[in-house]
Amino acid sequence: MRLAAVSDAGPLIHLAEIDSLELLSAFDKLLIPETVYEEIEKGGVPDGLSDLSYELVEADVEKVESKELDAGERAALAFTTERAVVLLTDDLAAREAAADAGVEVRGSIGVIALGYGRGLLHRDEAAWRMRALQRETSLFVTEAVVERGIKTLDEM
């Protein structure tokens, strides 16, 4: 099955912080809204992004009304709605809004699991990267929740 994803800034930043942007190549197509690209440009475009194959897309930010979501999150969600693509976000409010809109939504942990599922990573490497997300990035997630994810990895 072909898999396409549109990402907001979160996963691009968090995966870059643990040198794991290459895992996004597990998707057959990666789309980045221009609003999101402009957001990450402000903090410096991560080194690994230029090695990825992705397409910049325009999205109507005004299409999604939400005070809780920033412009990038709204752009990514707006683009995803009505298209068969996965929304990548690490923001729980964006995740909830996407679920309410019937959009399939995943986060950085899911990208690592996908890398493992598609044979890009061994189990230990996937577990190490999940723990690194919690320890070494600006992603807010508790250690216990990450360990729960690793346990799920082992149970599948």
């Binding site: 729980l92 909830e96 995943r106 899911g110 493992y116 997630v141 508790t142 729960r148 994810g149």
Partner: protein
């Protein structure tokens, strides 16, 4: 964090709050222990070692609901990643 940086931060905090460096360290220990304790409660709740009621009682309903949302998101993500 390097020892020098910790010392600098303690000095700066003491000056900022106009208190002794020992008081800064005492507050840091109290804050650190509280954080570690709350993390332990989250871990125990997710491991079913304490009930939801006990977790809510000690962490508050908002924290517990946030932990549950994060747990559900992570579990769903991993299951999806392995089968997508």
């Amino acid at each position: 964090m390097a020892t020098d940086a910790v010392s600098d931060h303690v000095r700066e905090l003491a000056e900022h709050h106009d208190i002794d460096e020992s008081a800064v360290i005492q507050r840091a220990v109290e804050t650190g222990v509280e954080t570690l304790y709350r993390n332990m409660l989250v871990r125990r709740y997710l491991a079913d070692e304490i009930t939801r009621e006990e977790a809510v009682d000690q962490l508050g309903v908002e924290v517990v609901e946030e932990v549950e949302s994060a747990r559900d998101a992570v579990e769903e993500d991993v299951e999806w990643g392995l089968h997508a």
